[in-house]
């Protein structure tokens, strides 16, 4: 069996591992357009800060590909997929045949038309790849005024700013929404985050955006014009507005695409033997109860695993995921789970705030918890995300949760609902006792 995997990142590798778990002999080929072995892509900002280095940024061990017997084709772009003849074509005109194909191309940064933007310039660009981080590292050394503009105050924008700040740049974030992390945070938590950023040398220009980038003869930025009319000096401009599924190369393949790749419960596309996963697919959102693109690492791994298991011939379904994210801004941890800004008036919101260090917000839909923001103190956040994912009724715990006693839910449940007073196995190989399997929790 010849398996071909497009994408050498979270979903692709998780898929390869799942295939290898059940098929020890099949030929697995992993294709990536980058020339690196798999690296931790969200960590490129930590790379600028020095928290991860050239040695530790790699996602897997050095001998990972050899040990699992994966063939690799790095630095090659897939130009087209021919699903009728079951083969893919690379940019050097080589074509590779497959029996089962996995597509995990991830996202490409979205760049709106901004006057003056030129991704070729060493001082301008997007911020999603290792090369981008290296480019910015070089750019920061060349910067004359040590001024940087980051367009977009989402997760990538925030982390990019933190990275640039660590390179001794003064950073301004231009965000169209009224607050940073506008989709995940609310006014209060957004305000606390912005203040934290400002204290550390990152300015936030909210309700504002860049309309024009002024460039010098060499094509490098000198200043930017804001919508509010201000003109800011800029040596470096990063566009971090968001990512879009990287599905351009699938044109003409017959695979259904609606914003992202459409897959069924087994992660198969409309074409037999072609599977997909990761940031480029539309998967079921269990909270909004509709298909949605949720571009986060945990879901990419889960989707890759489900696809890989099915590709190896073992039936498995994917039940959907929900949006959740975690970020730390200068020592302030922020975790957002599920629906944090409810539009539905029937949903109730409970808030607890202790100055500017701790903020908790819970969103209930009737008895059921559907969303949470934890800022400052994140202990037990995973319990909340499990509760939200499983749709457990927990309104009576709202005061405990707000006070931060998230573990009280577990204690009560472990003692009363599961009735395990008499002993409880932390770990075991329950091969013959699947009902004990811990993976049933999710």
């Amino acid at each position: 069996m010849r398996y071909v995997i497009i994408g050498n990142s979270y979903s692709g590798l998780s898929c390869a591992d799942a295939i290898r778990r059940f098929d020890k002999t099949g030929e697995i080929t992993i294709i990536s357009d980058e020339s690196y072995k798999a690296y931790a892509r969200p960590l490129i900002s930590y790379y600028l800060e020095g928290k991860t280095t050239d040695e530790t940024i790699w996602y897997k061990d050095d001998d990972y590909y050899e040990k699992n017997n994966y063939k690799t084709l790095f630095g090659k772009r897939v130009v087209s997929v021919n699903t009728a003849d079951k083969k893919i074509v690379l940019d050097d005109n080589e074509s590779i045949e497959y029996d089962k194909l996995f597509i995990g191309p991830g996202g490409v940064p979205f760049v709106p038309p901004i006057d003056g933007f030129n991704a070729e310039s060493p001082m301008m660009g997007t911020f999603t790849k290792f090369d981008d981080a290296k480019k910015m590292e070089r750019g920061a050394k060349l910067a004359k005024h040590k001024e940087a503009i980051v367009i977009g105050g989402g997760l990538i924008g925030l982390k990019a700013s933190e990275g640039l700040r660590a390179l001794d740049m003064h950073v301004t974030i231009a965000e169209l929404l009224p607050r940073v992390l506008g989709l995940a945070l609310d006014e209060i938590s957004g305000g606390i985050t912005a203040k934290k950023l400002n204290e550390n040398g990152i300015d936030t220009a909210t309700n504002d955006t860049v309309t024009k980038i002024n460039v010098d003869e060499a094509g490098n930025p000198t200043s930017v014009l804001m919508k509010s009319g201000r003109e800011l000096v800029a040596d470096i401009v990063i566009v971090a507005i968001g990512v879009r599924p990287n599905v351009g190369f699938l044109e003409g393949s017959g695979i259904t695409i609606d914003r992202g790749i459409i897959v069924d419960k087994t992660m198969m596309t409309n074409i037999k033997d072609v599977y997909a996963g990761g940031d480029a697919i539309v998967s079921y959102d269990i909270l909004n109860k509709k298909p949605n693109i949720i571009a986060i690492v945990p879901l990419a791994c889960e989707q890759g695993r489900v696809a890989g298991t099915n590709m190896a011939g073992i039936y498995r379904e994917y039940y959907g995921g929900m949006g959740l994210n975690s970020v730390e801004i200068y020592g302030l941890p922020i975790i957002t789970i599920g629906l944090t800004n409810p539009n539905d008036p029937s949903q109730t919101v409970f808030i607890h705030q202790e100055g500017e260090s701790i903020y908790r917000k819970l969103v209930y839909d009737g008895q059921v918890l559907v969303g949470a923001i934890l800022l400052g103190d994140v202990a037990g956040a995973g319990i909340l995300s499990a509760i939200i994912r499983q749709g457990e009724k927990c309104l009576k715990y709202k005061d405990e949760f707000l006070k931060g006693n998230i573990y009280s839910f577990v204690i009560d449940n472990e003692f009363e609902i599961y009735n395990i007073n008499e002993g409880y196995a932390i770990r075991g190989d329950f091969e013959d006792l699947p009902q004990f399997s811990r993976s049933n929790w999710r």
């Binding site: 998780s14 931790a40 969200p42 960590l43 930590y46 928290k51 991860t52 530790t56 940024i57 790699w58 996602y59 897997k60 690492v297 945990p298 791994c301 889960e302 695993r305 959740l324 994210n325 975690s326 970020v327 730390e328 020592g331 941890p333 975790i335 789970i337 994140v378 202990a379 037990g380 956040a381 995973g382 319990i383 995300s385 499990a386 006693n405 998230i406 573990y407 009280s408 577990v410 204690i411 009560d412 472990e414 003692f415 395990i420 007073n421 008499e422 002993g423 409880y424 196995a425 932390i426 770990r427 075991g428 190989d429 006792l433 399997s437 811990r438 993976s439 929790w441 999710r442």
Partner: protein, 193 residues
């Protein structure tokens, strides 16, 4: 007599562990949070051991959470398809397929708290000061996990699955026929150890 011999053989701890590797068992109802003591024994033992083993990454991997008079030891459950492994962006957490434990390479951990966000047991702790997320590694290179060694209350035990089922049967039998059932526990114990 023959029946007795069989049950003794089944509850042989070493053999049981070799074949059926349940290693750490919790008996939360027996945990009293080491009442009156300054430190909780398991937490302290773990901390001491982690200091020796990991140096910088030295926080205790076990945590006792309480509510009213109920205490619950929070430990990593070693999920087979662990959410923390899925969520780990740097690839610091991994599943060791040989020994079946979910382990951590702390050098890679950058403190993004993705694992804290997804662990359904709340078993991963954020260590904000040193920027890493700590989790139990099961003391795989030790004969007995240090927390189990330290627990005097019997809330933590090292046990195999045959022992577990045997213990459960005894317990239920005791509940049902308690006053009438006479078992010479000492006899089993001496054969076990």
């Amino acid at each position: 007599m023959e029946k007795n011999m069989k049950s003794i053989k089944l509850t042989n701890l070493k053999e049981d562990l070799k074949k059926n590797q349940i290693e750490i068992m919790l008996y939360p109802s027996k945990c009293d949070g080491c009442e009156g003591q300054e430190y909780k024994s398991c937490v302290q033992a773990c901390e001491t051991h982690m200091k020796e083993k990991y140096g910088k990454y030295n926080t205790a991997r076990i945590n006792i959470k309480s509510k009213g008079n109920k205490f619950f030891p929070i430990l990593c459950h070693n999920c087979e398809e662990a959410p923390c492994v899925d969520a780990c962006m740097p690839g610091a957490r991994y599943r060791d397929n040989e020994n079946g434990w979910t382990l951590t390479n702390y050098k890679k951990c950058v403190g993004c708290w993705m694992c804290v966000m997804v662990c359904p047991f709340g078993a991963i702790e954020r260590v904000g000061k040193d920027h890493y997320a700590s989790k139990c590694d099961g003391c795989i290179d030790e004969e007995t996990p240090k927390c189990v060694e330290a627990c005097k209350k019997g809330a933590l035990k090292k046990i195999g699955i045959r022992n577990y089922s045997y213990e459960r049967r005894l317990m239920i039998a005791n509940k049902l026929y308690g006053p009438h059932l006479k078992i010479n526990y000492n006899r089993y114990k001496s054969n076990n150890r």
